[in-house]
């Protein structure tokens, strides 16, 4: 594999010459406590870049990535210096994924843990079925974000599209700008002290320069938990 060691011990992989499978296989071979730094060049929209990593690596991807980048991530910090395609950090378990540009639809889908930061905007269905991941979007999110969200926080520093939090279970949604519309069973909720603390911590970790006091909180009205024929229209 064409890997060049450059000081201080950053492993560079150029996807213009190295097949993607070799990159991912090499990332999977490292030991679970390896704190090494990796740099991925010329992703050119490739799918599944740095998927399934399970080590506290620092991975910088220099360019735009395609679908499913950093999916199933455990422990690693993956930073994309560009835009990301569909399904960014899908089902991430822990660690941190940061995208400097925009993310396409279904960013952070089904994520179970860790922190996903989109410094631009995210498209439709951001955080769909999230199960514990925290997502901070510096810009706006598209329609049906946090659809069936179960656990974790979605922080939107811009605006949210239609049907935010549709059929939500128990996630905390924080939006600084406008909400085009709330989905079924999603309501505005009061901001308690522990919510302010939780949101402030996320804003700081995501390097989003806003105050918790600028946000409103949305969550589950819990009326869809059990079937009630009066709610049939909302299912």
């Amino acid at each position: 594999m064409a890997m060049v060691e450059s000081a201080p011990a950053v492993i560079e992989v150029d996807l213009a010459v190295t097949p993607l499978r070799e990159l991912n296989a090499a990332l999977h071979r490292v030991s679970g406590d390896d704190r090494g730094s990796w740099r991925v060049l010329n992703p050119r929209g490739a799918h599944a870049v740095a998927v399934g990593v399970d080590a506290p690596l620092e991975i910088d991807v220099e360019g735009h990535v395609g679908y499913y980048c950093a999916g199933m991530n455990k422990q690693a910090t993956v930073r994309v210096h560009g835009n990301a395609g569909v399904g960014l950090a899908e089902n991430m378990m822990s660690g941190t994924v940061v995208v400097e540009g925009n993310a396409s639809q279904s960013a952070g889908a089904t994520g179970r843990g860790g922190l996903l930061v989109v410094r631009g905007s995210a498209a439709a269905r951001c955080g769909i079925s999230m199960k514990g991941v925290d997502i901070v979007v510096h810009g706006s999110v598209g329609h049906m974000s946090a659809f069936m969200a179960q656990k974790g926080c979605l922080v939107v520093c811009g605006d949210a599209g239609e049907a935010l939090g549709d059929s939500i279970y128990e996630s905390h949604l924080y939006v600084r700008g406008s909400v085009a519309g709330l989905g079924a069973d999603c309501i505005e909720k009061e901001m308690g002290e522990h919510h302010v603390a939780e949101l402030s911590d996320l804003l700081e970790r995501a390097e989003a320069g806003f105050e918790a006091s600028e946000f409103r909180r949305y969550g589950s009205a819990r009326t869809l938990y059990n079937f009630d024929v009066d709610n049939a229209g909302a299912y």
Binding site: R44, Q105, A123
Partner: protein, 285 residues
């Protein structure tokens, strides 16, 4: 590199998304008004194109006929309606793929790589074009079921998605006099646009009508004589990405296809919003 070469690179990038057919509409060499450029397709590999050309020349006057794989392009000295009805009467075995002043449509079942090589896309220059690679979900893998579909003079449609009300809509459009060759859903969308435009709607209004009258999933790209338009359904499951530089504007299902264009790294990029018509027109040079 000529425009056809760029479009070929884009198609090859997305060949794995749609490996069963490929097609291209390219706009170039605009003919004078009063003449019509026609692209013909023959399923017969031994088609006698000289006979077609001689008959066209004798019947209405025709320029040189250029054969490209299973297709041929010819400029005739009459309007499109006269030319296409004459052709369907005299050469019913030929299919008119496109008609207009600038458009040429080429499409075939088979791997996109084979299409790119067989039709020698790299040699084609032009002002703008639309390509498509197909993975059939709603109808047979045939040349007729491939994209782009003609939607009238100098107009064409490519589609990513699937329509669920195409059977009923096809019958309604047939009652309006729109003809269909296949059971393909995209052909119905193309027929719908043809009908709306024939009834006097602007392209933008016709596309907005899709939001009301088409049920299903779609990202559409429509080619026009001097530009193109893009529409995504309101649910927007089907992807689309746009990129713009000072030199060009491009749209694709995903960034891989745009990454092969010169200057893509520095292009302004965004995703078209759901339920919104986007359109571009070339500035007259």
């Amino acid at each position: 590199m000529a425009l056809g070469g760029h479009l070929a690179e884009m198609l090859l990038q997305l060949g794995d998304r749609g490996p069963d057919s490929a097609g291209l509409a390219i706009y170039r060499d605009r003919v004078p008004s009063g003449s019509t450029k026609v692209t013909l397709h023959s399923a017969d590999p031994r088609q006698d194109w000289d006979r077609v050309h001689s008959a066209l020349d004798a019947g209405m006057g025709a320029g040189a006929l250029e054969v490209r794989a299973s297709h041929a392009v010819v400029v005739v000295d009459t309007d499109a309606e006269t030319a296409t009805s004459w052709l369907s009467e005299r050469f019913p075995e030929l299919r008119v793929m496109s008609a207009g002043e600038a458009i040429e449509i080429y499409k075939e079942a088979g791997l996109p790589r084979e299409f790119v090589e067989r039709f020698d896309l790299a040699s084609m220059s032009g002002t703008h074009g639309l390509g498509h690679t197909r993975m059939a979900t709603e109808s047979k893998v045939t040349t007729d079921g491939s994209h782009p579909f003609s939607t009238g003079l100098d107009l064409c449609l490519v589609h990513n998605g699937s329509l669920s009300n195409h059977n009923r809509l096809r019958e309604q459009l047939r009652a309006e006099g729109i003809e269909f060759q296949t059971l393909n859903d995209t052909e119905v969308a193309a027929g719908y646009l043809t009908w709306r435009l024939r009834e006097g709607a602007s392209l933008e209004a016709a596309l907005e009508g899709c939001l009301e009258d088409l049920d299903g999933f779609y990202t559409f790209a429509v080619g026009t004589v001097d530009g193109f338009a893009v529409l995504r359904d309101p649910i927007a499951c089907k992807p689309a990405v746009m990129a713009e530089t000072d030199e060009w504007v491009a749209m694709a299902s995903e960034y891989r296809a745009i990454a092969v264009l010169p200057g893509a790294d520095d292009a302004r990029m965004w995703e078209p919003e759901p339920g919104t018509v986007y359109s571009w027109e070339r500035q007259p040079v």
